[in-house]
């Protein structure tokens, strides 16, 4: 399986974080295709090939979704709930990547079926390390569920 075929969906409303995340991926030599959705609604459109993404190939599913929680329109936890509720995306790996360390968010994230919960560190160097480990794990080490 060609690693380049594995794409990433980054759901992030903050352009700074988006840029830093992409930078961190790059610095870790994770060169997979990264799609970015800037709010919850767009993320759902992308995943379910609807709205603006109607033309997208439904078979092209991201190998991993990096999901922020605090999102405009539809928040991250709701996005997660709908992803898990849909047959097509039920098994899709979703990693919550957020600034929040609130217990409630952690509990709800895992309860709704998040595969990981990662808190973005303020220190960029730590952030780079974290994102690198994340990509390494989900894109290289982890065997993806059958499509």
């Amino acid at each position: 399986m060609n690693a380049n075929a594995l794409s990433i969906l980054l759901v992030e409303d903050n352009p700074d974080d988006e840029e830093l995340t992409l930078r961190a991926l790059r610095q870790n030599n994770i060169l997979n295709q990264v799609s970015v959705a800037r709010d919850g609604a767009e993320a759902l459109d992308y995943l379910f090939c609807q709205g603006a993404y109607k033309a997208r190939d439904p078979l092209q599913r991201p190998a991993i979704v990096m999901l922020d929680l605090k999102l405009p329109k539809i928040d991250g936890l709701e996005v997660l709930r709908r992803v898990r509720a849909d047959e097509r995306t039920r098994l899709m790996p979703v990693v919550i990547l957020t600034s929040s360390k609130e217990e409630q968010d952690l509990v709800n994230g895992y309860r709704l079926g998040a595969n990981s919960y990662i808190r973005k560190p303020v220190d960029f160097n730590q952030f780079v390390t974290t994102v690198g480990q994340l990509g390494l794990y989900w894109l290289v080490l982890n065997e993806a569920p059958p499509r």
């Binding site: 700074d16 600034s99 609130e102 303020v122 220190d123 960029f124």
Partner: protein, 777 residues
């Protein structure tokens, strides 16, 4: 009265003495009688024993003699014509040897008077007599033939070793009774040759006179000895003995027909108290007997010791006892009578005086007291008690009337026909009437007109209740009517008492106007308070929610820009490094370290707010384990440092696990931090009882310490005693510690000296465990 008391005294004393005396006498009499009767024959037992011993000794002597060599020698010599070749002895020599043996035996036995060896044909062969102290062998020519005597014929029939005891009779010589009479008893045993041929008998004659002497007098009383046929062997008049030998017919039968009849029966022993009819003039007497069976081979033969005593003699101890009782009883009764008379005199006089005093007091002279000087004993005590009672009565009466008068409540007594009997000062105040104005008036004047009927009905119902004294309708709310016509709310207690056959009601009436107003005020205030509490609670809830939203937002939104600043600075450093000089790179580093510090501040603030909001779930927490875990993390973060760490072996606290962990993290990381310059860094954690029933825990280090002047600022948020350049930190850690400790109901404090380390203490509140934490659903 005096006579009555004295008489009663005498009667009581007399009857007591009589009853006690009679009971004791009767019981003692019965016991004594029984004992006398049983002992009268028991005394005979010693005589019987003596007789038997004598006979037994004679038996042993006879058997001994029968087995001695001379008997054998005589038999051998007779068989061989007068010469015993075996021992080269003649017949006469053997007879002489036997006589010598008999002589030596007789010397030792004062009871014996004759020993004989009689051959198989009844001819005496050897005979030694002991007469009046002289012992001598009877010459051959004086020997007699005794073949027809019973002791010979009977003994000859016996087997070897058996014994014959003859009846006691008078000795006969040559067929005639010897004089003076010699009462004799014979003990005999047969002699057999080695071939088993009967070779005559050995006979020992016992002189019974000495024995009979003893029998004649027993304790000065008459005792008889009779044989199985009722003939006397011993009798006070010797002429009446041995009738069967001397040929006259005088037996027990003639003296005591009843005893003679009993004697013919099987009983070995008999005692009887004979109650003679009074008219016959004969005295009551005691008689009885005890049989002695002296001849083991012929149990039909016996002697009987018989006695007959006048009851006065037999029961002399009983008579004495009765007399003693009588004298004693009379003495006591006399003493009782005298004492009774004296005492009764004193008693009646004092009683009369007491009664007089009591009577006067009853007339109303409550100041009167009993004159104790003239009273003795119980009357003194009675007088004292009486006086004490009067004191108590007088003081309680005055106290009672004071209470009634000083009472704030109105106390009104009312007669059965509803007229006012008394009206205390409280009533005057409450109703506005003076006592003079209302006493004798109907109660209705104190009740508003519209309630009069209802009240009347109520009272009538109360009157008919069966209880003698009872409270009516406790704390019943009623309305009262003052003199000025105004009404007031009141609480009334009415009780009913029967006083001298007439019913009296006592009403306690309390004006509750003020109280009702106060109650109303309290109700109003309470309602307002509840409203305010509800409002405040709602406000607090809103504030709490806002705080939560705020802290969430801080945690999420405030960090995002910081991360951007840090990330972009880093990107700048990496991507545009060539276009920046050292100064520029330094600035960027400053930006980055500031953003990271702010990130730390935000994290600590969130922890603080969480400590404030969290629900405390107390459970046992192993602080030793927890401290070691935290310390291990510190060590991992800075593996280069050498810090000695010690904890108490077992340290179990009662608190919220997550919050306690935050406390230890803060305290231990502080200690870690402030010992960074110490030569030998040392951190210790332990606990001790703080003296108020709680346990105090502490973390102690040998770091830089702090100036106690600022100790009060230590636990405030954002308060720092060191510059960030010296020791990094946000100043929130100890505030969080204090917040958590306070939430547990404990306290936190610190002790230190600059340069000598610091100790941080905390407690966790009373050691009571609340209900177990609920399961988060």
């Amino acid at each position: 009265m005096r006579k009555k008391i004295a008489l009663a005294f005498v009667l009581v004393t007399l009857s007591c003495v009589a009853v006690l005396g009679m009971a004791t006498y009767l019981r003692s009499q019965a016991t004594l009688k029984e004992r006398i009767l049983s002992e009268s024959t028991a005394a005979f037992a010693t005589i019987e024993l003596k007789l038997n011993q004598t006979i037994e000794t004679a038996r042993e002597d006879a058997l001994f003699l029968a087995g001695t060599p001379p008997i054998r020698g005589i038999m051998r010599a007779r068989r061989h014509g007068g010469y015993d070749a075996e021992t080269r002895s003649t017949y006469d020599m053997w007879v002489e040897r036997l006589q010598q043996l008999m002589i030596s035996q007789l010397r030792n036995r004062s009871d014996y008077w004759q020993m004989r060896y009689i051959d198989g044909r009844g001819q005496e062969i050897a005979r030694v007599d002991s007469l009046d102290g002289a012992i001598k062998a009877v010459p051959k020519n004086a020997l007699q033939n005794k073949a027809e005597h019973a002791y010979f014929t009977e003994t000859s029939k016996l087997p070897a070793g058996a014994i014959y005891v003859s009846p006691l009779n008078l000795n006969r010589e040559h067929g005639r009774i010897e004089t003076p009479h010699r009462p004799t008893l014979r003990v005999a045993t047969p002699v057999y040759s080695v071939l088993g041929e009967q070779q005559g008998v050995i006979v020992i004659n016992l002189y019974a006179a000495r024995l009979l002497d003893k029998i004649r007098m027993q304790d000065g009383h008459q005792v008889y000895l009779v044989n199985q046929d009722g003939f006397f062997l011993a009798h006070p008049d010797p002429a009446k003995t041995f009738g069967f030998d001397l040929g006259f017919d005088y037996q027990l039968q003639h003296l005591h027909p009843r005893l003679a009849e009993k004697l013919r029966g099987d009983a070995n022993e008999f005692v009887e108290y004979v109650d003679e009819p009074e008219l016959a003039g004969a005295e009551d007497h005691v008689h009885g007997f005890r049989k002695i069976r002296y001849d083991p081979s012929n149990p039909k033969n016996f002697w009987a010791l018989a006695f007959d005593l006048p009851a006065s003699v037999a029961f002399a101890p009983i008579t004495k006892l009765r007399n003693d009782f009588l004298v004693f009883g009379l003495l006591i009764a006399t003493l009782g009578a005298v004492a009774g008379l004296v005492w009764a005199g004193r008693f009646s006089r004092q009683a009369v005086e007491l009664a007089a005093t009591a009577g006067e007091i009853a007339q109303g002279r409550t100041d009167l007291r009993v004159d104790l000087a003239t009273k003795t004993d119980e009357f003194h005590a009675l007088g004292q008690a009486f006086n004490r009672m009067m004191e108590t009565l007088v003081s309680s009466e005055s106290r009672f009337s004071n209470i009634i008068n000083l009472a704030a409540d109105a106390i009104v007594t009312v007669s059965e026909d509803q007229r006012i009997l008394s009206f205390n000062r409280g009533a005057e105040r409450v109703f506005g009437y003076s006592a003079e104005e209302v006493v004798g008036k109907p109660l209705d004047i104190l009740i508003p007109q519209r309630f009069v009927n209802a009240h009347g009905q109520h009272m009538r119902g109360f009157v008919q209740e069966p209880h003698q004294a009872r409270a009516m309708g406790n704390n019943r709310r009623i309305a009262g009517l003052r003199k000025d016509g105004t009404e007031f709310p009141a609480e009334a207690n009415v009780s009913k008492l029967t006083e001298g056959g007439r019913m009296v009601f006592t009403a306690f009436v309390r004006d509750v106007t003020e109280r009702e107003r106060a109650e109303e005020e309290i109700r109003r205030l309470n309602a307002g308070l509840e409203g305010r509490v509800a409002q405040r609670t709602a406000e607090l809830e809103v504030a709490n929610k806002e705080l939560e939203a705020f802290s969430y937002s801080v945690s999420h939104d405030l960090r995002a820009p910081l991360r951007s600043i840090d990330g972009v600075s880093q990107a700048l450093l990496e991507d545009c490094a060539s276009r920046l000089d050292d100064q520029g790179r330094h600035y960027l580093q400053r930006i980055r370290s500031s953003t990271q510090h702010m990130g730390q501040l935000i994290d600590d603030l969130i922890k603080l707010s969480r400590a404030t909001r969290a629900v405390i779930r107390r459970e046992p927490a192993d602080l030793t384990q927890m401290a070691q875990t935290v310390f291990a993390e510190l060590r991992r973060a800075e593996p280069g440092r050498q810090v000695e760490f010690q904890t108490q072996d077992i340290m179990i606290a009662d608190g919220d696990l997550r919050l306690l962990r935050i406390v230890l993290e803060n305290l231990l990381s502080n200690a870690w931090k402030f010992t960074s310059r110490a030569a030998h860094a040392r951190i210790e954690m332990a606990s001790f009882p703080d003296g108020t029933g709680e346990r105090a825990y502490y973390v102690r280090d040998n770091g830089v310490g702090f100036d106690m002047t600022y100790a009060d600022k230590l636990f405030g948020a954002f308060q720092r005693l060191h510059t960030p350049a010296d020791f990094p930190g946000t100043g929130i850690g100890l505030a969080t510690v204090q917040r958590i400790v306070h939430r547990h109901g404990g306290r936190a404090w610190a002790e230190s000296e600059l340069g000598k380390g610091a100790s941080f203490y905390f407690t966790l509140g009373p050691f009571s465990r609340p209900s177990p934490p609920e399961n988060p659903s």
